[in-house]
Symmetry: C2
Subunit: 159 residues, 2 copies
């Protein structure tokens, strides 16, 4: 298979949006994507950009991506959060995901990040096996907590 | 109890570092804190600052803090991550944590963040009960994954 990896450009956001939607369907949350292509263009490519993306491309077609941004650990310092690692369905198991993952890890290493963190669904055994084989640790004993927009509004109004 | 909440200043970082260390001990990771006071001063108070902090102060003494930064959801847009919510041991159960939490939620609401996210230890029942009572959702079925600095280096060297 012949693909290349490069940094995403603003013009790629329509394809990035398609990949994000594809992942939401895979994660059984097809209606969760509220963000638009215009949001991605603004949020990723204005002065205060909120994320970076590595793109995998085959014959001019975008087939996968790794979207990430910086976080901060009060134990370790600056760390990277991998928000989405996505390969389009027809191109899975061909090394695209591993190449994107490898590129991200190299970026983290070259830029002195102290950790790369992300989240995985507990039923996604293929992903978990892959991550563990690369040396990543699946943390047991931590829960992710979310206060969503509506609950936030309710809480503010009542407290 | 008479305390005030304010935004942290650079001069507070020595006390912030103490609180971070206190939390690490509570979380049974006493040796995990690699960051220094100088790191916090640089990372929080230079041009590209990596976090913000609300401080709770009683008679000039810092007794608690909420440290947070921006993240990005590819489903919702810009969100806040609450990295640490800490109240020093002798001042717990007096409303300090709730006041800090309330201040953070108001900040998120006022600035149009789409979510506030954080992580909690599964044995920290007091914290979980508190969060759920405010409307936050403990996500089941997601694991946090970490690739630490050493494992990252090993992976890069082998792949």
């Amino acid at each position: 298979m012949n693909f290349t990896i490069r940094v995403a450009l603003k013009k790629d956001m329509v394809f990035v949006h398609q990949l994000i939607t594809e992942l939401a369907i895979f994660e059984k949350e097809p209606f969760a994507v509220e963000i638009t292509v215009a949001d991605l263009e603004k949020d990723g490519f204005s002065k205060d950009s909120k994320f970076k993306i590595f793109i995998a491309e085959e014959k001019g077609i975008i087939i996968g991506m790794a979207l990430f941004y910086e976080r901060y650990s009060t134990w370790k310092g600056k760390v990277i959060h991998l928000e989405d690692l996505i390969v389009t369905k027809s191109k899975r198991n061909l090394g695209v995901g591993k190449a994107l993952y490898r590129t991200l890890m190299q970026y983290a290493f070259d830029n002195n990040f102290k950790r790369v963190a992300w989240e995985v669904l507990d039923w996604n055994k293929n992903a978990i096996d892959f991550y563990e084989n690369t040396g990543a640790k699946i943390l047991k004993g931590w829960h992710v907590v979310h206060m969503n927009e509506q609950k936030l509004k309710n809480f503010i109004n009542k407290n």
